[in-house]
Symmetry: D3
Subunit: 247 residues, 6 copies
């Protein structure tokens, strides 16, 4: 959509899927860029658009507040967090504008764990006054990975669960594939969160997560594993879109 | 706190832990009451208060919007959902009032899966202007259950994950212990969600979850299993409180 | 409603009156519990439900800011005040959910003087988009007491007006009937506000009301007077409901 | 303040009382202007300013929603109602600006019954971060009238209470004195609300109040009674200002 | 409208143009009153109403935040600024009430440069749910002045652009005509902003504008120039109203 | 910043200028991309960063509502408009996060005409609680172009003023330089707004602007003119940054 003229958008708006990538600006350890999440959702959105003839919107570059046990938390410099109400309004406004323009098929591609509840709140609020025939789908790539692939990706290191897979094997592998020039594998160290907290406490303690911001072991990341994840997640997204929007 | 006079509250406010139970009004299948979540958080709060000499506040009776794959979703009659912004303001106002009164130790006991992100947003907003020495802890009982106990509770039925454990074995067992007079075991049927969706779609399809609102098999629930869960979660809560507030 | 399953609620939702009790957590002198208001509206709601086959919702446990000359004001520890905007949103969300569920007959039973303007604002906002045939009624018990009963209840002490009747004869008598185990008549003292202010001033002066929080003389409270008030207010509520909802 | 230059305001801002009149645009029967309330608060503010060397700000011309039993309700054409949240923000912004300018003594002169709760909410929110030494007073003229004067004003007609004294003897008498050219005594009729409702119902029934918008009998209004009320209310305001701001 | 009864408003509401003047309370140098803007929009509204048989509403007396390069900025005592969200809500509420009353033709007459974006936002929000046949027009007097008149008014002094024409020749001339008793020509000095900033910086520097608050030279202001501007702007307003509302 | 790790950001955050580009998604005629504005502010931000060793944040990709006479208005498909309140919150949250991270020097580079008032509102709200020593600058490239350059750029076509210079010579020339692959010069036609409205009207008439969305003649655009504008605007930005942040 970035490079389309409004004539081009106008010609496709009521037929084609419009895809909104949502990311974040968040610490991703010593070796991955702050923009890791947005890179991932933009790349997935582009791949998906190629498969289903979709239109990719400019990304929502900023996301909801990083939590210690899924992103390192708000104390890391460079982690730029939106308030919940702001993210809700932002997504709501954008989707409502699409709908006013006559768009019927909308997919949100999310890559930031903490965004989920607030994206759904925005969609829910929009959906209460949505014209018949409009449909909105929200997908996060990790929800589309099978146990089989998890087993392959976590061949040496144990799978710590998706929340803790922050700046670790899956994200590092994805960025090695999507934007290798931004990865500093030489700076990656073997740190992880010592004890995953079973509750939340405020003010957030500074020593809850390692100084590096790494929550899980990132060693054994590779472009091939990135490729594997991308293939499966993309196939999942294509299937969802085909099923829901009957292409 | 309900039955305390203000003199009694005044005498304890800056020393003792103040506990805020948060629940919901949400469908819990054909056999459990709409107030299941709030019953659970109130009961846990009372048990915790007994152990650590805490003060239990009146519960927040209404919670955030039920989601299909963790509570059946908003379409069930009797499920009364708050908007995200409302729950945030409500929790924020109450905690700020406690802090203005001089309370230093606050614990939120949550029992509704969908509340989590919005409770944390409220606490985060409060914590930005919190006087030094004030601490807020949030606990959800399921985060305190070990794999060992899960194995015991799910002796016949497979553990479907916490999100899907709605109106199923753990909650039924808890209510069998906490409020047995409200349970109708004879109405319980063996239904569960057929295919757990790996994405969200709006408008929410009516056939995503079984008509009964049950997401997982509730058979094999028992008062004994309830007791087991209560013991472990309560012990977890007491440990957290002891650790964070140095009792 | 607390103990109903969603099946039970579903079967009655479009026929029966749904009653929402609204209270507060507020100082009520040295002898009454902080939860006085909510106890009163819950009890009245239950009595009303029995008479008109209504459904009682879980209460809104927290209310609007206590004012010095009607509740002692915000400075008393244990008085937990919501901002106006929060109470408006909370009530609005809950009523809108009821309406979405198909409920047509809604009654709000209020017992906290300061709630009134904000409850009406919430109802007004909802009513602008309400489906035809839906009706909402708001009642406060004191509005239903006749001069005749006032004369009987204030046989020795002069009636100070409803705003000042805080933690005094009527509320004490009501709690003596509704929740006698929470009343400490031995702690009641003969204090009252010396000079009722004819204006408001901020910051609120600390000596505007007696230290005890009592605004009027509570002596001569009795279970019998409570009974008298309950009978009359209940009859008034039943008449209103019969008239407005044509039972 | 309207006609002052900023130099003149600057010279007096930290010494003198700043007075903010708040009114409404609301039906006042067939004989009084829509601007009745604002005329009254502006005139009182000017009189008060003369006595205490105060500065009168431009009025807040619009007020909170008219209620049936105190202003006829929102259905009358020409009654222009603000939402509660809007009035709160408006008053809050204005007072905060005064305080930022260095003003220490602020009086709000209100003349619209329904404004009260929302004005107090605004003042309360401001007062939480107010610099030491700043004081805000809110006065409504009817709160300053003694029983003695009520007896004199209601010599033929019974006093219906302040809420119902809308467009009736007191307001008509005030406008006969304050802005006689806007009164049409020949159009005044002897109508009043038949049965004062003891509860609120929405949607607001159209026949709750007389078609004319009159709630109480206005006959026997006179410039002399207006004069009497003005003298007493003004004296009350001067006394309050003297007491609170130590002039 | 101020002096109309509701009967009179009711009789004209769906036929006649309703005019809402919007102004500000803002420093206007050493010689003009703080209420300059509101005086101007009220006077223009009255003149326009006379020409097209319109109804003038009570003004919105307070406006959006003064900016250094168009009004001197927020640091001047006596400049009372509303937050953007407040002005939006205020205008939105008022227009929505008019529309609910059945008004079809609405004109906003603005005289405060900084109000423009926020007035348009309010109108835009209202217009999304506006009944067919309703129309809202917004006019600022300076947009209606031709180059020819600018040349005449700026016969000696160079025209600095409308933003900088604050408390200078045009506004002084207008007030000399509209409210001569409030102008102190003897206090007018020949000061102007030295260097018009081509960007904005916060915190706003104190020396950005002259101490007097004057942005441009006001010398050569005259009642005759005021008359000239009034004639042309008024004619422009009448033409707009005639064209848009087909009188 | 996109490709920086948090370690790299941390090392520079309190010394270096942080630059936030703000753009829009808005129709730019038949020949320019919807992302024109954001492309321009991102490119300017990068150029500025190179000169002053600044850090460029991910852009705010969406902006405030397009107005007919400065962007064609909201009716064009592909123009995605945020509400004013949303843009204010978004910018406020992001700047506050920077400040919390310890950033002291912030520059906002804007390229969308309609954003201005709302960006300033956000900055103003932040600046009220900003730590001493923090400074925020907002720049729009057109404010930095001298009359001399305007004369050179508008050698054949008359300069229509900045508001109307939408998708016309300056923006086309800029994109020819910044992202030539997105320009379709062959589709450019010679259309412009016939009569620039001197007022606003809602609902916005469909024939106010040409069907193409072009407001001014774009002919004679060239890469060289783009280069000229870039040089001058960039020099202006560098001078502002040098002056305000004393590099």
């Amino acid at each position: 959509m970035k490079n389309m003229t409004w004539y081009e958008f106008d010609a496709r708006k009521d037929k084609d899927l419009v895809i909104l990538p949502v990311g974040s600006v968040e610490q991703h350890g010593p070796h991955l860029p702050l923009f890791t999440d947005t890179i991932i959702s933009e790349k997935f959105s582009n791949l998906l658009a190629n498969k289903v003839n979709g239109i990719v919107m400019p990304a929502i570059n900023y996301g909801y507040k990083s939590q210690p046990a899924s992103g390192g938390g708000p104390l890391f410099p460079g982690t730029i967090d939106l308030n919940g109400a702001t993210l809700i309004s932002l997504v709501k406004d954008i989707i409502e504008e699409l709908i006013r323009d006559g768009v019927k098929k909308i997919a949100i591609v999310n890559s930031h764990f903490e965004n989920q509840a607030f994206l759904l709140e925005a969609i829910d609020l929009v959906s209460r006054n949505m014209p018949e025939g409009t449909k909105i789908v929200m997908m996060s790539w990790w929800d589309l990975i099978t146990q089989d692939t998890i087993d392959k990706v976590f061949d040496e290191v144990e799978f710590p669960g998706w929340a803790l897979e922050h700046a670790a094997i899956t994200e590092t592998s994805l960025i090695l594939k999507f934007a290798p020039e931004t990865v500093h594998m030489d700076r990656l160290i073997d740190e992880k969160i010592e004890e995953v907290p079973s509750y939340q406490v405020y003010p957030i303690p500074k020593d809850l997560v390692p100084k590096s911001g790494l929550l899980s072991i990132g060693r054994t990341s590779s472009k091939e594993k990135g490729e594997l994840i991308i293939q499966e997640a993309l196939e999942g997204m294509v299937n969802i879109v085909r099923k829901e929007f009957i292409f």
